[in-house]
Amino acid sequence: MKFSKSILIFLFFLSILGAFSYAFYRTDGNVYKSIQFTLYFLAIKIGLIGPNVSLKLDYHQPNQQLVSRVGYNPYVSILDKDRPSGLLMDSIERSSLVPQYSYSQDAINQLRAGDSRVREAAWLLITIWMLQQQSVGFQPVRQAPPPPHRQLFGGTSSSPRNNYFSKSSQPGTSLQVQKPSNMPQQNFSGLTPQQKRDLPDARDGFIREKGHPHLGVGYNQVKFKTPDHGSAHRLPVNEKGRTPKTEKNALILRDSILNMPNRKNIIWFDNGMYQGGTIRGYDSVNLYDPDTEVIAVFKKRSNGQYSRFATTCKLTDMERDFFLSSGGNFVTEPNLKDPKVLHIIKNLTNTEKNNDF
């Protein structure tokens, strides 16, 4: 008995320590929050606070497993409503999809009866499991696997819904770029804002069109561009003339960009440029919709990886004229009006000179 008590005490302190270190890690080193989390954890353990889980132990289904469905789920859609924002964990709930590995009826009865050792052991197991999953109250950020050809995150049906994302998201979540769980804080802090926006996110989308470069539509970059560029994709604007920077709007914009290859008259410029010939210039893949004059720019990467979404906007007549004449170099009007810059740009892109820029 002494031995088992020692183990329990050891596990108890181990779990407290684990809770603190977990919280410390997940809050990026915030000691105050970590202590808060640990105290809360401790309060649950000693029974001061009743855990929600007990409510879920419905005696009508005694053999089912407590499962926390972790929210890494790339099947995110704007089509579904009312999903708790931010947390991708769907909350602790019963699932019949985990057939074995369940508590015995006996153990559950003991839990109900308040057997402290069994309860302690159960909580330890839950704690260890949660630590493994890293999913309590925080959103894990993991890279979504590339989807199959043009099936945006894996839909297989021909319905628009399934060809997009089958899980929902909701506006109002934190709009900060989140640090990936496997990235040290120091490395994350050292990134530029653009590099942070380029970090993978479960809500990223991909375009894989046969015969064209593969494109990535990074959620964080889309979100960043939403206020000033949402209106080019018919998103609503507020009294300030901007599209509110909500997750919902960012996802709508993302989906609109992802859907651009399906537009009737879409034109691909696989070897295009963005501001080519200027200090801001780079090689890009550009999608152009002649019906709406909207383009989407995807910055090419030297390592052969998919080109990454950079921006989208509505072209002016002057920009469109140059864009088409140059074979897909999107240069904005200020540069086109600058004779020195224009001269360099024209030489770079061999634009024919009998137009009146």
Partner: protein, 153 residues
């Protein structure tokens, strides 16, 4: 850009383009099939574009002056100016493909190039958004633009 506006020619080009569209073709197809005609039509569209911006010139200039004189901060300026820009763009959009509206349209030669100046300011917002310039640089650009458009006013 030439400031000569020929409404008869504009209408002729627009009519042909609308017929072209009925064949399920678009502006890019016109560019590919008849580049000169495309550029000529585009030039007239730019003139329309200038006029619609010109109609709001007082509001544009007031917004610019308020910003230059520090009566409003950058954020407020961006909001005011962007709303005006989109308003002008959307008004233009309704007209440029409508024969009747173009027929009744009165071109004002004073407006030549005005819309482009305003677009240049609008585009600076994205340069700033991408952290490739500072607010002060945008302000300097706006100030320079105000000087450039003085002959128009």
């Amino acid at each position: 850009m030439t400031s000569k506006y020929n409404k008869i020619r504009h209408l002729e080009l627009l009519r042909r383009f609308l017929d072209f569209k009925k064949q399920d073709k678009n502006i890019y197809d016109l560019y590919l099939e008849n580049r000169d005609e495309y550029l000529e039509l585009s030039r007239y569209q730019r003139m329309l574009h200038d006029c619609f911006f010109w109609r709001h010139k007082k509001e544009f200039v007031l917004s610019i002056e308020n910003y230059i004189n520090d009566s409003i901060d950058f954020e407020q300026f961006e909001i005011n100016f962007s709303k005006l820009w989109w308003k002008s763009m959307n008004e233009n959009k309704g007209v440029e493909r409508d024969l009747e509206l173009v027929k009744n349209f009165e071109y004002d030669p004073k407006s030549d190039g005005f819309g482009s100046f305003m677009t240049c300011i609008f585009r600076q917002f994205e340069v700033l958004e991408d952290e490739e310039c500072t607010e002060q640089e945008v302000k300097d650009y706006v100030r320079d633009t105000l000087q450039e458009i003085q002959p128009y006013l």
